[in-house]
C-alpha cells in the first residue's frame, strides 16, 4: 500500500527572468493524497508541468516507482501513468464526451479509416459505470455544466490507467455537493492505490481530502506536514512567509470627496440588472462577489467593451456615452483586465511599446511620425516610478514576471492620464512580494486623486484595500458597505443571498 510512486529530488527550473523552482523535493506514496499549496506564482504549476512532461527541469531528478525517469513529453508522462487534470479545462466542446475521453486512442474499423463510435461509447459507458458517473457518453461536451466537464476530465485521466493523478484546483468550479462527490471518487481512487497530487487554494478542504500538505513559496519548499494535525493558520503563514498580522484596514476617507464616476441603472441583456453606484475621487471602491456575479461585466460595460441595454454613466456630473474602449480611454477610464495576457499585454512587443500603447497619439510629431525618443522617455519614467523590474525597456513583456507585467499594464493607463482606473483581480497570478507592491501602488494612486475600482475574489484583499465595498450577486448590486461595517461574513451574506429589492443606490 505504501509503495513510493513519485520521488522529486532537488528540482530547479528557471525561466527567462524568473527562478520558478529551486531545489524542490517531494514524494508521493501509493494511495496517498498529497496536497500542494502556495500563493499564486509559488511554483505549483511549474512543478506540475514538469511531472506532466510539459516543461523539463534544469536540475534535479524525478523518479517513478524508484526509477529515475526523463519525462520529456506529455506522452512520456502518460506512459508512466501520470495524468493531469488542468484547471482550465482542455476538452473540445464540439466533440462528444466519449470522443473527448478517447481522443487519439479511437479503435478503428474499415481498414483503419473510420472511428468505431459504438465501441467508443461502450468503453466510455463502462468507465462511467465503474466510477459511478451518470452522464451520457454521446452528449456534446459543450452542452455540459462546468462541473460535469470536470468529471469528464477526471474520467479521461482515469481512462489512461493513471496511477498518478495531478489535480489542479479541481473544486474551483464545483458546488458543495459536487465537491463531496469528487471527494468520494478520490476516496475510491486511494483504495485502488492511486496517488494524487492535489493543488488547491481552498485550505478548508485539505483536512477532508489530503494526507500530507506541502507548502511552496517563491519556488522553494517551505515544509511538509501531516494534514491531520495541520493548523490552517500555520499553513497560511507558511504560504505568505510571515505571521498573519491583525487585519489592516484603510484609514477612513474624508466625507466630502467629489464624485468622479456615477453609474445609474446599468443593465445588460445577459446578466446585469439595474446596477447603480458612485465612485469618488481618491477612493478605492472594492467589488466583491462570487464567480459569475457580474463584477467583470460591470467593468466591461463601463469601459465600452460590452454592449449595454440600459443605464447611464456620468463623469464628474456630465453624462457620457461609452460605446467602445477607445471612447472610454478618451474619457479617461482605463480597464485592467483580470486576463492580462489576453486583454492587457502585447506579449511579443517590448515594455516601451506596451507602456505607450494607449497613449501613442501624444508621442507623434507634426509629420505624424512616432517620436521614439519621447516613447523611451515615457517608458523609462514609468519603469522607474513603478519599479518595474526589467533588464531594459526593450525586453519583451512575455519574459516579465506576473507582477511586473501587471505594472506595465498599470503604466499604460497612467501614461494615458486616466482619472478612473478599474482593476479586475489586480493581484491574480502575482507572487506575494509583488502583491504588496501592487497594493501600495493602488493606495498611492488613490492618494494622488485617482478614482479606483478594484474587483477582487479574495475577501482579505478587498477588506484590506477598499474604502467602500460593493457586493454583487447574480448580476445585481446587493450592498455597498463602508469598510468599517464590513467583514468577511457580511460580504459573503450579501454575495450569496439576493437581497429583496435589488440594486442599492450608493
Amino acid at each position: 500500500m505504501n509503495a513510493q510512486l513519485v520521488r522529486v529530488d532537488g528540482v530547479s527550473k528557471t525561466f527567462p527572468g524568473v527562478r520558478a523552482l529551486s531545489d524542490v523535493s517531494l514524494t508521493l506514496d501509493a494511495g496517498e493524497v498529497h496536497a500542494l499549496v502556495g500563493e499564486n506564482g509559488a511554483g505549483k504549476s511549474t512543478l506540475m508541468k514538469i511531472l506532466a512532461g510539459i516543461h523539463h527541469q534544469d536540475e534535479g531528478t524525478v523518479a517513478i516507482d524508484g526509477r529515475v525517469v526523463e519525462i520529456d513529453s506529455p506522452t512520456a508522462a502518460q506512459d508512466l501513468g501520470i495524468s493531469i487534470i488542468h484547471q482550465e479545462l482542455s476538452l473540445m466542446p464540439d466533440l462528444t464526451i466519449a470522443e473527448n475521453i478517447f481522443i487519439g486512442r479511437e479503435r478503428r474499423r474499415g481498414f483503419g479509416l473510420f472511428v468505431d463510435d459504438a465501441d467508443l461509447n461502450r468503453r466510455a459507458r463502462e468507465l462511467f459505470d465503474h466510477l459511478g458517473i451518470a452522464l451520457d457518453p454521446r452528449a456534446k461536451v459543450g452542452s455540459l455544466l462546468v462541473a460535469q466537464q470536470q468529471v469528464v476530465e477526471i474520467a479521461k485521466a482515469l481512462s489512461f490507467d493513471a496511477r498518478i493523478i495531478i489535480m489542479d484546483e479541481p473544486t474551483a468550479a464545483l458546488t458543495e455537493s459536487e465537491t463531496h462527490a469528487l471527494f468520494g471518487l478520490i476516496g475510491d481512487l486511494k483504495r485502488h492505490g492511486t496517488g494524487i497530487i492535489y493543488i488547491s487554494h481552498r485550505l478548508e478542504e485539505l483536512a477532508a481530502v489530503a494526507d500530507r500538505i506541502t507548502v511552496l513559496r517563491d519556488g522553494a519548499c517551505v515544509g511538509t506536514l501531516a494534514a491531520r494535525d495541520a493548523d490552517l493558520r500555520q499553513v497560511v503563514s507558511m504560504m505568505v512567509g510571515r505571521q498573519l498580522r491583525g487585519q489592516t484596514r484603510p484609514p477612513s476617507l474624508p466625507g466630502d470627496l467629489p464624485t468622479v464616476l456615477e453609474v445609474r441603472g446599468l443593465s445588460t441583456k445577459s446578466l446585469l440588472k439595474d446596477v447603480s453606484f458612485s465612485l469618488r475621487r481618491g477612493e478605492i471602491l472594492g467589488f466583491a462577489g462570487l464567480m459569475g456575479a457580474g463584477r467583470t461585466e460591470v467593468a466591461r460595460a463601463i469601459c465600452g467593451a460590452d454592449r449595454t441595454d440600459g443605464g447611464e454613466i456620468f463623469l464628474s456630473g456630465r453624462r457620457v456615452r461609452v460605446s467602445s474602449p477607445a471612447d472610454a480611454a478618451r474619457l479617461g477610464i482605463g480597464y485592467l483586465s483580470e486576463d492580462r495576457k489576453r486583454f492587457g499585454l502585447m506579449l511579443d512587443q517590448d515594455v516601451a511599446f506596451n507602456i505607450v500603447a494607449s497613449d501613442l497619439r501624444r508621442h507623434v510629431n507634426a509629420a505624424g511620425l512616432v517620436r521614439d525618443d519621447q516613447v523611451r522617455q515615457t517608458a523609462r519614467r514609468y519603469v522607474e516610478t513603478l519599479s518595474i523590474r526589467t533588464p531594459s525597456i526593450r525586453q519583451r513583456t512575455k519574459h516579465l514576471s506576473g507582477g511586473n507585467q501587471q505594472k506595465v499594464v498599470i503604466a499604460k493607463w497612467l501614461a494615458r492620464d486616466c482619472e478612473v482606473l478599474i482593476f479586475d483581480e489586480p493581484t491574480r497570478g502575482i507572487d506575494v512580494g509583488a502583491k504588496e507592491e501592487i497594493y501600495s501602488l493602488l493606495r498611492t494612486l488613490a492618494d494622488e486623486g485617482k478614482a479606483i475600482i478594484m474587483i477582487s475574489s479574495e475577501l482579505p484583499e478587498v477588506l484590506r484595500m477598499a474604502d467602500r465595498i460593493a457586493v454583487m450577486c447574480e448580476g445585481r448590486l446587493t450592498a455597498v458597505l463602508d469598510n468599517a461595517d464590513a467583514d468577511q461574513e457580511t460580504i459573503m451574506t450579501h454575495a450569496t443571498k439576493l437581497v429583496p429589492g435589488g440594486g442599492v443606490a450608493a
Binding site: P16, S324, P325, A329, F343, L369, P391, E437
Partner: protein, 343 residues
C-alpha cells in the same frame, strides 16, 4: 528575481543591472538583427551562386531585368506587409491589381482622361477595393481570408466584364509607358518602375516603423483584444490598413500596365501568392505582430533573383515554380529554427 520582500520595492536600477537579464535582451536584439541579416545574406549567396553558374547573370541589363520583374510583385508585397503584420491576409492583390490596371485603361484610353487624372483614378480604384476589404473585415467581421478571397473573385470577374475580356492598350496615351519604362535619372540605365519600388520601400518603411498606423498594425497583430481594451480604435485602423494595401495594389496595377503598354484582364491571378511568399521570406510572421518592410523588399528580390537565375540557367518554368515553393519552406523553417522555442 523573486526575492522581493514585503518591506517595499527594490530600486529599479538594482534590477536593471541584473546580469542574466541583460544577456537575455542582448540575445533578443541580436536575434532580431540576425533575422534581417540572414535574409540579406541569402540574397547575396544566391547572386554569387548564379553569377558563378552563368556568366550572363551579373550583367547590368540582367540586373535591371531582375529589378524590373521584381517591381510589381515587390510593390504588392510592400502593401500587404502592413496587412500581414496586423494579423490579416490579403488574397485579392493579384486580381485587384488587374482590375486597377483595367480601370486605368478605361479612364485613359476609353474615356480619354488626362494622364495624371487617369493614373490617380486608377490607383484610387485599387484603394476602393482595399477599403471594401477593410469594411468587410472590420465592420461586418468577415474573416480576412474569406473577405479577400471573395474580393479576389469579384475583381477577377469585373476585370473581364469591364474590359470585354480583351486587353486595353495605351498606345494613344502619350507618356503612359514612361511611368514604368522611362528613366528618370539621366545617364543611369534604371527603369522608373524600379525607382518606384525603391521609393515605395523607403516610404513604406517609414510608415510601418514610425507612423501611428504602423505601430497600431503591430499592436493589432500582436494582440487584437488587448489593443482594443487599450483604447486603440481597432476597426478604424484595420480599415485604413487594408485601404493602404489597396493603394499599393492600385500603384502595382498602373506600373504593370505601363510596363506592358496594356491592361491584360486575364493576367494577375497568382501574383498575390508570390507577393505573400516575398513577405514571408522577408521574415514577417503570418501570425502577425512581427515584420519589416526592408525584409519584404529582400524577400521580393529573392523571389525575383531565383526566378531569373533559373531562367538564365535554362531550367524550365515548371521547375522554377517548384523551387520557389521550396525556398518558402526553407525560409520559414530557418526562421523557426532561429526563433527556437522562443517564438
Amino acid at each position: 528575481m523573486r526575492d522581493v520582500d514585503a518591506t517595499g520595492p527594490a530600486p529599479a536600477s538594482e534590477a536593471l543591472t541584473a546580469p542574466e537579464h541583460v544577456r537575455t535582451t542582448r540575445v533578443g536584439v541580436l536575434r532580431r538583427q540576425l533575422q534581417q541579416f540572414l535574409a540579406f545574406a541569402s540574397l547575396i549567396a544566391l547572386i554569387l551562386f548564379f553569377s558563378i553558374a552563368d556568366d550572363n547573370f551579373l550583367t547590368w541589363s540582367n540586373i535591371t531585368g531582375i529589378l524590373l520583374s521584381t517591381a510589381v510583385i515587390g510593390i504588392l508585397a510592400l502593401g500587404t506587409t502592413f496587412v500581414i503584420v496586423s494579423g490579416g491576409i490579403e488574397l485579392s492583390l493579384g486580381t485587384g491589381m488587374t482590375l486597377a490596371a483595367v480601370m486605368t485603361g478605361v479612364f485613359l484610353t476609353n474615356l480619354g482622361w488626362p494622364l495624371l487624372l487617369g493614373v490617380v483614378a486608377g490607383i484610387l480604384s485599387g484603394a476602393a477595393m482595399g477599403l471594401i476589404n477593410g469594411l468587410n473585415i472590420a465592420v461586418l467581421r468577415i474573416p480576412p481570408f474569406i473577405a479577400t478571397l471573395a474580393m479576389m473573385l469579384i475583381a477577377q470577374g469585373l476585370a473581364l466584364v469591364i474590359s470585354g475580356t480583351a486587353p486595353i492598350y495605351f498606345t494613344d496615351v502619350p507618356g503612359f509607358t514612361d511611368i514604368s519604362q522611362g528613366e528618370l535619372i539621366p545617364g543611369v540605365d534604371l527603369p522608373n518602375a524600379v525607382l518606384i519600388l525603391f521609393a515605395l520601400t523607403a516610404l513604406g518603411a517609414i510608415v510601418l516603423r514610425k507612423s501611428l498606423l504602423g505601430r497600431y498594425a503591430f499592436a493589432i497583430g500582436s494582440n487584437e483584444e488587448a489593443a482594443d481594451i487599450s483604447g486603440i480604435d481597432v476597426r478604424r485602423w484595420k480599415i485604413l490598413i487594408y485601404t493602404l494595401s489597396g493603394v499599393f495594389m492600385g500603384i502595382a496595377g498602373v506600373v504593370l500596365a505601363a510596363r506592358l503598354n496594356s491592361a491584360q484582364p486575364a493576367l494577375g491571378l497568382g501574383y498575390e501568392l508570390q507577393a505573400i511568399a516575398a513577405v514571408v521570406i522577408g521574415g514577417t510572421s503570418l501570425q502577425g505582430g512581427k515584420g519589416s518592410i526592408v525584409g519584404t523588399l529582400i524577400g521580393a528580390l529573392i523571389v525575383g533573383t531565383v526566378t531569373n537565375g533559373l531562367r538564365i540557367m535554362s531550367i524550365p518554368q515548371e521547375w522554377q515554380t517548384v523551387i520557389i515553393g521550396l525556398v518558402i519552406l526553407v525560409a520559414v523553417y530557418t526562421d523557426n529554427l532561429r526563433r527556437g522555442r522562443d517564438g
